[in-house]
């Protein structure tokens, strides 16, 4: 009897204390998520009344060359950033996991791009990529290579965005790997030393297998993030030249807030949502193990 009363008291209090979260969740997460789907079934320019069109928007997507191009660019961007970014940051994590003097300074240096905003990073790199006076082409010149016009070249614009994104993301992944590395028992390496294993052998047979969980985790986060790339594209190339860097979120932004095709843009939003959902579910399953319920 007493226990039930306590449960009731707790329930009431919980409801009161959770009020802000409940309201924000309903108004800015749940309702928009459902609304987004309904809007994707309409034609709507925000001014004239909505027109119900069923799945027409979705059908149109797959015959829309710009959408298909943006879809491809998103995949290109993901394939360009994720594997290289992970390999570099894994190697870096191993390097900064050594107990040597000044290691904290090195870690801080690699981490610096993570804390800068994409906008500041974008501005910095636009100037780095300057065809004539940029630092990058200067260095290439020093070793006898004539640098490309980076951002204004159809061929090099996407690689430019990819390079900057990798540069900015390395420190983040490095820290995740580092915390994974610190979870590997020292004794494994000591045992390998006794067996006479070299640096490379230890890396391949101890570090890599022990980090498999972290690697999977970092891979999924990286994929989810690259599906959502936007800031750099908006700032550095505005999707150009000739749509060479138009990614899905950028096209969504254009359709919604430049062309005012809310229904069509919402359909793009749902495509992105489902692309991400698959990876999110895997991530959520991994994460659930880390949560003690």
């Amino acid at each position: 009897m007493k226990k039930k009363k306590l449960l009731d008291r707790d329930s009431t209090w919980s409801f009161i204390l959770l009020m802000p979260n409940i309201v924000i969740f309903l108004v800015f997460s749940l309702i928009p998520l459902i609304a987004s789907f309904f809007i994707s079934l309409t034609d709507w320019d925000l001014l004239t009344p909505m027109q119900w069109v069923g799945f027409t928007n979705y059908k149109e997507l797959f015959s829309d060359d710009i959408f298909l191009k943006s879809l491809w660019n998103t995949i290109y961007f993901t394939l360009g950033t994720v594997p290289i970014g992970i390999i570099i940051s894994l190697l870096l994590a191993v390097a900064v996991n050594q107990r040597i003097k000044g290691i904290k300074i090195f870690r801080a240096a690699f981490f610096l791009p993570v804390i800068a905003s994409w906008v500041a990073v974008g501005l910095m790199w636009m100037w780095m990529y300057d065809k004539q006076f940029g630092l990058l082409n200067y260095f290439l010149d020093l070793i006898g290579i004539k640098g490309p016009p980076w951002l204004s070249s159809i061929k090099w614009a996407m690689p430019s965005i990819i390079i900057t994104s990798i540069w900015k993301g390395i420190g983040f992944n490095m820290m995740l790997f580092l915390s994974g590395l610190q979870g590997i028992p020292e004794s494994y390496y000591e045992a390998a030393d006794i067996d006479g294993a070299g640096w490379f052998g230890k890396f391949m047979h101890i570090t890599i297998p022990c980090l498999s969980h972290t690697t999977l985790f970092v891979t999924i986060i990286s994929i989810i993030n690259s599906f959502q790339a936007f800031d750099l594209v908006y700032l550095m190339t505005f999707g150009g030249p000739a749509r060479a860097t138009s990614v899905l979120v950028f096209y969504l932004y254009q359709c919604a807030f430049r062309y005012f095709r809310m229904g069509y843009a919402s359909a793009i939003a749902y495509v992105i949502f489902f692309m991400i959902l698959i990876f999110s579910i895997v991530q959520f399953q991994l994460q659930k193990k880390r949560i003690t319920v």
């Binding site: 108004v27 928009p32 998520l33 906008v119 636009m126 006076f133 986060i221 800031d231 949502f273």
Partner: protein
């Protein structure tokens, strides 16, 4: 022994080259921000111009309300920081410590909403903001972030680790749940709040897409949006743009300098979010 020294030297060289690559764009930014416009367009590039042009930093606010942007970013970040730290610790406390039916199921469902990308809901959120009359006003950037699943999750994980005995003491003293939270749990949560705080600070200070969509007038912009806007206006005035970009980074750099460990912790936990 000799071999060990050699590998150590190799490690230092590799790390130094890596660190240089990571830092070069920042040095280039600062160097450019202190040059005259003529010196910027010289070849080969130099690290320093003939004179150090501090006035580039003053010129940042000549044609644009840079000061406004800085204040707007500060307001948005601070308000979200205070509100979200409070709601997160409250909700985290509820999910960790109070008992009600379906608690853990509700928590997992709430947690799952972390996976909804901001871009998927941005159109309806824009429409809701418009209905609320908040477009082009700072509250449009604040409201959605006042309470989040991620913050709740982080604080809940922390409160799960606090021993029952402390709570029981408060109950015997006749505290209601809010009193227990306020007097026992909140004062204990400083490390967790610092970690979450840094995460919120970084996210809000660097946020771009929401200001881009919700804010129209130049004087209501935040720093990131303002900088992006400046790019269109100044086109090739790189010293001024680099000065602006550098100023925008200073607050985060300062916090980073003093709380590096919390940053790292916050980032490692962020891995759980994005």
């Amino acid at each position: 022994m000799k071999k060990k020294n050699l590998s150590k030297a190799v490690l230092y060289i590799v790390l130094s080259i890596g660190a240089l690559i990571m830092i070069a764009p920042f040095i280039w930014m600062i160097s450019t921000s202190l040059k005259s416009i003529d010196e910027v367009f010289t070849y080969p590039p130099t690290l320093f111009g003939k004179t150090i042009r501090w006035d580039n930093y003053a010129r940042v606010s000549d044609r644009y309300p840079f000061g406004h942007w800085f204040i707007n970013s500060t307001i948005v970040t601070t308000v979200v920081l205070v509100c979200q730290l409070f709601t997160s610790s409250l909700a985290g406390f509820v999910f960790a410590r109070l008992k009600f039916r379906y608690r853990d199921v509700i928590f997992l469902v709430y947690l799952a909403t972390m996976m909804i990308p901001v871009h998927v809901t941005i159109i309806p959120v824009f429409i809701i903001m418009r209905e609320l009359g908040l477009i082009d006003k700072l509250p449009s950037l604040i409201l959605t972030e006042v309470a989040t699943a991620f913050g709740t999750f982080l604080m809940r994980q922390f409160y799960m680790t606090i021993p029952d005995s402390l709570e029981d003491a408060a109950k015997i003293d006749g505290c209601n749940p809010f009193g227990t939270f306020w007097r026992i749990f909140l004062p204990l949560s400083k490390p967790a709040l610092a970690t979450l705080g840094i995460f919120i600070f970084m996210g809000m200070w660097n946020d771009f897409i929401r200001p881009l969509i919700f804010i129209n007038s130049v004087e209501n912009m935040t720093l990131t949006l303002g900088l992006a806007n400046m790019k269109g206006m100044y086109a090739t005035d790189w010293p001024v743009m680099m000065a602006g970009a550098f100023i925008s980074m200073i607050p985060i750099l300062i916090v980073f300098l003093f709380a590096q460990d919390f940053f790292v912790k916050s980032i490692t936990l962020t891995g759980l979010k994005e």
